[in-house]
Symmetry: C2
DNA sequence: TTGAAAGCGGTACCAT
DNA sequence: ATGGTACCGCTTTCAA
């Protein structure tokens, strides 16, 4: 009996049959250098006693854990849930398991997770850095120790590893372009912290779209919220529409978009007729809310799947081209909150 | 050099210092039977060469993985996300890591996950069975092999293991009681598949509340949807309000509740004035939707945390009382969709 | 075709 | 205080 209570080892089978450990091992791995009868005997005994090879012994021997770690800022977040789902799906289809490392947007937790992964527990790591993270040495260490690493969404540009990202810049551009096409002239921007690169890229896309058609940039109508929580979104939008005469809003997240719409409604204005709104991320809520929310897609499962794929490639071939950048496209999903041309009145 | 590229082993340090492996091991674990200078020398070398004990060797030796598996039907689901967050949090605080096993409500995947966990990869498992699962032998096997197991939410009653559940029956009762208190006389029920025990319990709570105050049970106003998808919810509700004259709905999930409200609005009726609605689960959307949704709380993080706690207890003390049932209470959260007495007109 | 033994990276018992 | 060695469960080389 092995040490998992009730678990049988190769040694047990060897003893029981009087055959050597070596032969048992060979028989169980269908090595041809074993006589057919011997093999069948051993395999039947193994089946009978419910033999299962020990994961622990195997991973010590083979230096493989068949496990990857996934470091994410948030768990209860539609985008990250989907990323994890996509990554897990790809991993499972390739015999890998996934260890979950939510940092809860805390730098300390993120570092702690990385530390505890760099002891041979996983074969590689997928990570999205937290909003709070300014120092990247825990990731540098990972690379130094030759643990395969792939970033997604919020990445460390300085590190020479594969990165899977949305084309946030172009997505922001498209969103605002759409508002312009709907006839909006004074389009505001409201987004999360500017230092988070995805937000900044979306913002740059906004600027480009406006500049391109010669709309003036009014910095009074550009708001970088300290977080993208609903509460902030509502109050900032309130201030915004109080002070400025706008007819369109591009919100860098759906949460902020819905918060904005609530504020607009509260002021007695109508969406999209008075102010059209486009969000970002395609959250479920946007399909159900009234009006339904125009938004940019952010295919989390696809991003997660591609990240897992890149990681597993890297594990199997450590010398491949590291600095690949895998870009996932975002699509405009037109719904009620922005469709002014087709409105009924 | 160990076999993680760049990783140093105890043996390397022994060689480098000319000290025995044993002493190095002792020094690194702060064993007092090592001379202070020796210890400090070894520790400084270890630090210098970035020594990290091998997780793989350790887990083979100690028969501990410090990892637990969590089997859930869905990942991108607010409730399960929260459960996972709660479980992971507790696990992390107790030096455990979590392996994710989403079954995606597929019996096959659930079985596959369990198989791959029963090889010594984890110290224990937390599980919620999928809607599809009718055969429980993969869980029976888990118990037979003495792998600690804890169920939550959708549990296998027949198995003698700890279970963490919401008091669904009482919660359903409270929800309907609230509608009655609001003056509703003809209250409909709409829920997910009846064979899923949590749905059935909520339904029983509904029946009890009605029976208790002498309201007649009208089976025309009791709908068990094949799934709890929005689409089903909307069409079933449409039929319901078409055929029956109701003034209240208890929906066994928030998804169905919102679907119901959409159908009601589409018919030109008002919530809560014409029909009051109470949902179940306290999803984020219910706080933002208009009207905001009255609902029963379903504290996922708490449930996950308690499950992890029970599991880790079981791991550390396998002889403890197995058949514990840990019941988490649900609270009524009154919002606009049901507040008829305080409505402004 | 089969078996003995070394080794993966640690720990811990038994000597010295 | 320090070192030799067996062992955890399995694979693999070498020998027979």
């Amino acid at each position: 009996m092995g040490t998992r209570k009730g678990s049988v080892t190769i040694k047990d089978i060897a003893k029981k049959t009087g055959i050597s450990i070596t032969t048992v091992s060979r028989a169980l791995s269908n090595n041809p250098h074993v006589r057919k009868e011997t093999r069948e005997l051993i395999q039947s005994i193994a089946r009978k006693y419910n033999y299962v090879p020990s994961y622990r012994a195997l991973s010590l021997k083979t230096n493989r854990t068949n496990t990857i770690g996934i470091v994410v800022p948030q768990l209860t977040h539609e985008f990250f849930s989907k990323v994890i789902r996509g990554a897990e799906r790809y991993a499972q289809d390739n015999q890998y398991k996934v260890i979950l490392c939510p940092s809860n947007d805390s730098y300390e937790r993120e570092v702690a997770h990385m530390e505890r992964l760099l002891n041979g527990r996983v074969d590689g790591i997928i990570a999205c850095i937290s909003n709070e993270t300014r120092d990247y040495s825990h990731f540098t260490r990972c690379v130094e120790q030759d643990v395969p690493l792939v970033f997604f969404d919020c990445v460390v540009e300085a590190l020479d590893v594969p990165k899977v990202v949305l084309d946030d810049f172009n997505a922001g551009y498209q969103a605002v372009k759409h508002l312009i096409d709907q006839g909006c002239k004074r389009i505001a921007y409201i987004g999360g912290p500017e230092h988070v690169s995805v937000n900044y890229q979306r913002y740059l896309g906004y600027k480009k779209a406006l500049t391109e058609v010669g709309h003036p940039l009014n910095y009074q109508t550009i708001v970088h919220c300290p977080t993208d929580h609903r509460d902030h979104g509502e109050s900032y939008t309130q201030n915004l529409i109080q002070a400025e005469n706008i007819d369109g809003i591009f919100a860098a997240t759906d949460v902020l978009a819905i918060a904005a719409i609530r504020a607009i409604k509260a002021k007695g204005l109508k969406v999209p007729d008075d102010i059209a709104v486009v969000g970002f991320s395609n959250w479920t809520i946007g399909k159900v809310y009234e009006p339904t929310l125009t938004t940019m897609s952010q295919p989390g499962a696809k991003i997660g799947g591609k990240a897992a794929q890149a990681l597993i490639q890297l594990i199997n071939d450590p010398d491949e081209n590291h600095s690949r950048r895998i870009i996932v496209e975002s699509d405009l999903l037109v719904r009620q909150s922005s469709t002014r041309l087709t409105r009924s009145r």
